[in-house]
């Protein structure tokens, strides 16, 4: 039926990944950084699903589920920390958290 080349799936995955990467590195707003992280995780999910589909293995989807739990936990902790940060610094600027410099 379909004949989407794996190559294209991986291209899509890397595109999404790189977009997410840009977001994480370039944004100062921590909330946006978290969202970009989600994008990156998602990109990895695409690659896994694609690979699973090519070789007709369920492992890809299993991995995706694990990534999903990871994302859930990460978002929970991340957002909680963000709330702390907002209380303490009155800002979501990641550059405010640079006390741990050498």
């Amino acid at each position: 039926m379909t004949s989407i080349p794996l190559f294209h799936v991986l291209i899509l995955s890397s595109l999404l990944f790189v977009i997410g990467f840009i977001g994480v590195v370039a944004r100062k707003n921590t909330l946006f950084m978290l969202m970009s992280l989600e994008v990156m995780l998602n990109a990895v999910g695409v690659a896994f699903i694609g690979a699973g589909s090519v070789w007709q293995q369920a492992d890809g989807q299993v991995m995706f589920i694990l990534i999903l739990t990871l994302a859930a936990a990460e978002v929970a902790v991340g957002l909680a920390l963000l709330i702390r940060m907002q209380k303490k610094y009155r800002s979501l600027d990641i550059d405010a958290l640079n006390q741990m410099k050498g």
């Binding site: 990467f21 994480v24 590195v25 370039a26 100062k28 990641i94 550059d95 958290l97 640079n98 006390q99 741990m100 410099k101 050498g102």
Partner: protein, 631 residues
Amino acid sequence: MNVLLASLPFYPFVSFLLLIFFGKRLSWRLAATISVSSMAISALVSAILLFELSVTKNQVMTANLWHWFELSYAMGSSDVNVRFYLDGLSAVMISVVTGVGFLIHLFAAIYMKSDVNFSRFMAYMNLFIVAMLILVLADNLVLLYLGWEGVGLCSFLLIGFWYQEQSNVLAARKAFIVTRIGDTSMAIGLLLLFNSFGQLNIEAVTLLAEQANSLSAGTNAESADNIYWIALLLLGGAVGKSAQLPLQTWLPDAMAGPTPVSALIHAATMVTAGVYLIARMHGIFLLAPEVMNYVAWLGALTLLLAGIAALAQTDIKRVLAYSTMSQIGYMMLALGAGAWTAGVFHLMTHAFFKALLFLTAGAVIYALHHQQNLFKMGGLLKKLPFESSLFIIGLICLMALPGTSGFFSKEAIIAQLWSSDTAGPMLWWCAILGALLTSIYSCRLFFLGFLGKARFNENVQLKKSSLLRTSLIILALLSLFGGLIPLDLTLVFSSVMNLPLAQLTEPTWLHTVAIITPFIGMVFSWFYFKSYRISHLAGKEHILQPNNGRFVVFCRQGLGFDGLYKKLFIMPYQWLAQINKNDIFDQIIMLNAWYVGLWHDALVLVQNGSLRWYLAAFGLAIMLLLGVSLL
């Protein structure tokens, strides 16, 4: 074991301890009584010892106090004891040390009466006597070295007695360090001596040296070489202590100390320790005739140098200091020529008259409110007739006018120079020239200080103390008649094989020349220094100024040795110390720390705490890794 001999240094030592520990609480009278009476007892004991010595069989007495330590070397070991040894030579020394020492203590007790630190002063003087007695009585060279350093320390303390004055402090430092250079040479000499003979006992070394000589002198090249070096190194020590060339520079500065100190230490006793050392070690020196020749030449050169320098001085004590140097030069000359007895004899008479001169000078200086400048004196003969007459006695002894003690001893030296194997006519002429210089500077000193018109305005102050005068009078009597003391040291130097007489025959005019030389000097001075002695020089007397020509100043500063040493040794040492103040080794080692620190600083820049920066670095690293794997 002779208890009296063993106890000789004990009396002044007890006095020292008492004064040091309870000095602050003692009254002047008590402190003075303690220190002077301890010296009186010592003098008495040495008199008894002298008597006992003359009746003992071989004229040697010993007292073993305790076993000090034992030194071992490749072929065995030898004991070094705290042991006193009294023979003719050390007997002369102890009588000078305790006798003259007693008189000077007596003088000092009154002279220093008003000083706040009187008891400390007397304590040092006592300690000095202890060290000096140990030096002359030592039976081995290590104990001698102990006394040697001890007198150095006391000399240092007494020169710097008025320590608040920076110049005194520096003079004391200079004296100590310069003599220490000599001491180090002596210490190396001791090492070499022990290594060659396995002994440090003076008697034993003398004996061994003689044996070595009688076996086959000169055939054993190595041992001859060793003895040459030993003698030379010991000479180094003697030169330092006795202020001879080239280590003479400390003595004039040492005059910063109180006048009794100059009399006791820097004229009568300590500075002659070098002479004593060479006389004591004559056994070694005789085996090294070259070194004896050096001794003679050093003595002669110092004699002339000090005579010239004395001519240009303006400070009465410095004149006397240079005069001391030159007189010790005579002693060295005598020793170098092998005239041992004459050298020691001159040591004794010199102690008498130089102590007298210094003490009288001290009295004069005190009378003039601590004025030491000769050009601010003048006419003292009328104002201080007693002191002046004693000073004249001292001066005629110094000039060796016939009949005085100086005459006998100096004649004895000069008489033996011409025909000595290690001296010779050349040195004889030096001695004569020295005598001429001596009489000229003595006359100059006398004219400037005692004749002419008074060039000061204050009234003279006098210490009218019969004790003080007694001590001066006794010294004056000793100076005048000390030449009559029969000094028989043949036993001490009996072991000396007579030096082969040179082929020179003495011309007949020798003695005549020697005797009239001082008179020539006097006559010359009478005319040359006319301006100094005339009191009616038509209104010019108040502008009598020292000659400040360049050459005169050069002579006044001891012929530039100070400056030379400063340029040669002191400044380079200070420079070295200064440039390397931070320790170059430390710098090199700390380079490691600096290097690590550099990396630390560089990496700290990377560790900037910014999360995004870390992420970017992470991405960059992945990019680079992938790039590398691609290539």
